[in-house]
């Protein structure tokens, strides 16, 4: 039987044409562009709630709003409002504007403001600082000052099980942890209670999640709302050194990142891809119990983006910026030395030439004097 290949859909994202499969979202199309050409990484819409490995996630934070200037080739009218790119599927001939449209950037600025309304300014204390998606989002798209003067909502800290701590104050209600819990258990153990301003992540009256994979809610959380209690206040992420490592685990893939302070393992997390997403969850025993180097087989230092603060004070070759500009300039100005003179061995000729050269030099210096 002949294999039926789905016809690819061509869309234009910020002036760049890309072909994707039907059913792909605008976000995925943008990521495809960036994966093909990493200089275009800046045009991918930011995502605070969307998490590809978690089905049904997305559409909540509005960080990824884009403008669709042309709905499709058949219906070229623009979409009336900005649409969330993480849940909007592409159509043939769609034209999307993200960084090229000032309205989108302006809206994004407002979205940062909305997300930060109830988010406390406790980054100096928060363990997530340095790898926080909200920090990145606010830094890249927000304004430097807050206009909010009212009281922020506050909650008491809650311990979810022995190893996870919930700071509801910091939560931005992205629902990622809820979808993670839905994925790893059959029962509903973890959800959001209350509505609007009063909504709150809860585990049905603080019922501890005793699932083996519950620790992954820490990695999935874009902010510091769910944090590792074994790592609490141990160190700032940029002082620790991440190393890729694996171990033989019968529950999970065993692929993890081990964070060192000196020779001491202070934290174990799952591996994240370019988009900050964990594709392979790790189990709780790997995360919370294997805190010795002997538990792990090290693979080498984790690749950290140079823009990340985690790369600070680390002098690995791939983290040090090469002087691109100077090298390019040198390449344009490079000239081969003219060395076409005959090679003279005869002593009489050498003597004659050196006298001539000497005269030339004297002549030149006398000329330059005048």
């Amino acid at each position: 039987m002949e294999e039926v290949k789905p016809q690819l859909i061509k869309i234009t994202f910020d002036g760049i044409e890309v072909e994707v499969e039907p059913g792909t979202t605008i976000m995925q199309a943008a990521r495809k562009i960036a994966e093909a050409d990493d200089t275009q990484a800046g045009l991918v819409p930011p995502a605070m709630c969307y998490y590809k490995p978690l089905p049904a996630s997305g559409g909540k934070c509005r960080a990824c709003l884009v403008r669709v200037a042309q709905g499709s080739a058949k219906d070229p009218r623009p979409m009336p409002k900005l649409v969330p790119s993480c849940i909007t599927q592409v159509q043939e001939g769609m034209v999307v504007e993200n960084t090229t449209n000032p309205a989108v950037l302006d809206t994004r600025k407002s979205i940062v403001e909305f997300l930060l309304i109830n988010h406390p300014l406790d980054c100096p204390i928060c363990d997530q600082a340095g790898e926080c998606h909200l920090q990145d989002f606010a830094f890249e798209h927000g304004s430097a000052k807050t206009r909010y003067e009212e009281e922020r909502r506050t909650f008491e800290k809650i311990d979810i099980g022995p190893n996870i701590q919930l700071h509801m104050t910091r939560c931005i209600l992205c629902y990622r942890c809820v979808y993670t819990a839905d994925q790893i258990t059959n029962k509903r153990e973890h959800g959001v209670m209350g509505r609007g301003d009063a909504s709150e992540i809860s585990t049905y009256i603080e019922k501890a999640i005793d699932n083996d994979f519950s620790g992954n809610v820490i990695d999935v959380c874009p902010v510091g709302a769910l944090t590792d209690k074994t790592f609490r206040f141990k160190n700032r992420v940029w002082f620790s050194k991440p190393e890729d490592a694996h171990c033989n685990c019968d529950k999970c893939s065993g692929k993890a990142v081990v964070w060192y302070r000196g020779d001491e393992v202070i934290r174990v997390t799952a591996r994240k891809n370019t988009w900050g997403e964990v594709t392979e969850f790790i189990c709780n025993s790997c995360r919370f119990e294997k805190k010795k180097t002997s538990d792990w087989v090290l693979e080498g230092p984790t690749k950290v983006k140079r823009s990340s603060v985690i790369s600070a004070n680390k002098y690995r070759a791939d983290l040090i910026k090469k002087p691109d500009f100077a090298l390019k300039l040198a390449a344009t100005q490079f000239k081969n030395i003219d060395d076409s003179r005959p090679y003279v061995t005869d002593s009489a000729t050498i003597r004659e030439q050196s006298i001539k050269n000497n005269d030339k030099a004297n002549h030149r210096s006398l000329l330059s004097k005048n």
């Binding site: 980054c123 100096p124 204390i125 206040f233 002082f239 004070n313």
Partner: protein, 183 residues
């Protein structure tokens, strides 16, 4: 030459007069270790870890000073505040160890600029004293944290403030500014 010029005596007298005038003139030099010059409001001397008005330590060991430090002179260990220590530390996390390596420090003041809690400052009135021993090079919290009985006061706590004060002084305004202990 005229007779007056040939006599030389008047010239010697004028010369001596200049010399004698300098005996009574105000001296431009000072006797350094006994007398110290005012170094300016934004001089960057030794570090201090500030306390707030209630005497609680402001530092939360966020590590921004250490990551901003180009000489990697600062290191710290954070600790969680326990119940009963609310009068000692301002936030739920504090620096149990805070060390500045004064040999490494280049007194650039980036730590001061990076500090989100206005905890670390470079004093405008004190230098790091000369080391006599290697043990004295690394300053711990015992030497860095502010003494509440002898607080560090300053006329202006930011560069902007200092600049404004300078402008006011140049115009003859703001003659009596009282240095204050709290940024």
């Amino acid at each position: 030459m005229t007779l007056m010029e040939r006599a030389y005596l008047p010239a010697i007298a004028t010369g001596l007069a200049i010399t004698i005038k300098h005996f009574f003139a105000k001296k431009v030099t000072i006797e350094y270790p006994e007398v110290k010059r005012y170094l300016g409001p934004v001089f960057r001397g030794r570090h201090i870890l500030k306390r707030d008005e209630e005497g609680r330590e402001r530092c939360t060991a966020c590590g921004l000073c250490a990551v901003a430090c180009p000489a990697e002179a600062i290191s710290m260990v954070a600790e969680e505040r326990v119940k009963g220590e609310e009068s000692l530390y301002r936030e739920e996390k504090y620096a149990a160890v805070y060390e500045v390596n004064m040999l490494r420090c280049i007194f650039c003041g980036l730590c001061e600029e990076a500090c989100p809690k206005q905890a670390v400052y470079l004093r405008h009135d004190e230098f790091v004293p000369v080391f006599a021993d290697r043990d004295q090079v690394i300053w711990g919290k015992d030497r860095l944290v502010e003494d509440m009985n002898n607080r560090y006061t300053r006329e202006s706590w930011t560069k902007e403030e200092a600049r404004m004060l300078d402008a006011k002084r140049a115009n003859g305004e703001a003659t009596n500014v009282v240095p204050r202990a709290i940024p």
